[in-house]
Symmetry: C2
Subunit: 202 residues, 2 copies
DNA sequence: GGTGTATTTTAGCAATAGCTATAAATTCCG
DNA sequence: CGGAATTTATAGCTATTGCTAAAATACACC
């Protein structure tokens, strides 16, 4: 078992570049040549050798997204209260979707909402990831209800769906040019639906 | 000035078919051959002769969308009160984005959120149309505030942005498979932010 | 029937899509 | 140095992309 010729590019940096391109142009709007150019890879075969085909690269890029620019999402769930978690999630989204260091919006939302039959797998993967995010939020809210952090009459599933809708709407707003301040204001408005604590029995 | 060979297809029906394809596959995911096939046109030149190029056809399709499946949007603004208008808009969106007779979601949201440089004009047109919708809602809410239908302290611009965000989030949810009932429930939750009327001075 | 006009048809353009076979290059191990 | 392993480079594959020139076709009007 031996060495072989070394990589001429940094895999992780290349994934970051690929993320930028997919983020900005979507799955179907991105060509292999766009990718190799951005990733600092001179030839298509090197890309296929390192990352598989376009679908597989897209999937790796989504993992990289979740661990990088979207890490705030998982971290938000660690907040001590459910309300703090949702606020961290949505205010984090307001910041992340308008971060000047990245394309606007959220790749999970805008990567492949509507696409040709040839991009079905990409769309399905994004749909699944959005659903997983909503399920994680629901689980967090269910836990909050079970511990009394949310009133017993609250509806974790409905709330999770509502706040996920806000999140996704924010991504669309960001893609359309909304400012960071405007998005934070939307979040403030959205949070006013938070269920009031049950009145303490006298 | 005379006749010439008659059209072999119905222009309006063809536009409806093109709308379906663009709606489901997005601008960039739709090929000319997809369009001619769906529109009942045998040859590409007939399409170009009747509708111009792909960009121009897309624009005509968006007009057709606004006058057809999305007509409820303009009609919602005619409701007597601002609250009824917003409810008509959002509950209408819940119905329209899950209508089994059409693709899921809203073509204005999912048609071209992220796209390659070659699709810039399509993306810009969709962004402009979304902004126009938000502006129309803001105008409706400003009118409501001026007539006392909304309390004087209300923020029409912020509310318009919030409800537009809900609308767009609903479109994403619908594209992801949410049911009609779930979307209506989201709307009910979203409406609870509606500003309370100013207390009548005693 | 002939003429003018608008549409359809046929055929094909240059460019790009995603992807790959083959061979040259560069490393580690012995 | 001589393999073995791995990546890079060259070249090119088939298919499709958006689009169009030129010719054939079908109508209205005279």
């Amino acid at each position: 078992m031996a060495g072989g010729r070394p990589r001429a590019f940094d895999s992780e940096a290349a994934l970051d570049r690929a993320l930028e391109v997919f983020w900005r142009q979507g799955y179907e709007g991105t060509g292999i040549s766009d990718l190799t150019k951005a990733m600092g890879i001179n030839n298509a075969p090197s890309l296929y050798n390192a990352f598989g085909n376009k679908e597989q690269l897209f999937s790796k890029v989504l993992d990289r997204y979740a661990d990088g620019p979207a890490r705030y999402i998982r971290e938000a769930f660690d907040q001590p209260t459910a309300r703090a978690a949702v606020e961290a999630l949505l205010h984090g989204a307001a910041d992340a979707t308008t971060d000047p260091d990245h394309p606007r919006g959220c790749i999970t939302v805008q990567g492949a909402l509507a696409y040709s039959p040839g991009a079905t797998s990409a769309r399905e993967e994004l749909t699944a990831r959005r659903a997983a995010g909503e399920a994680a939020l629901r689980a967090r809210l269910e836990r909050a209800r079970d511990t009394g952090d949310l009133p017993a009459g609250a509806d974790p599933e409905g709330l999770a769906r509502y706040f996920t809708t806000i999140y996704q709407g924010i991504a669309v707003q960001a893609a359309g040019g909304a400012t960071r301040e405007q998005l934070h204001q939307i979040v403030d408005t959205a949070m006013t639906v938070w269920p009031a604590p049950a009145p303490t029995p006298a």
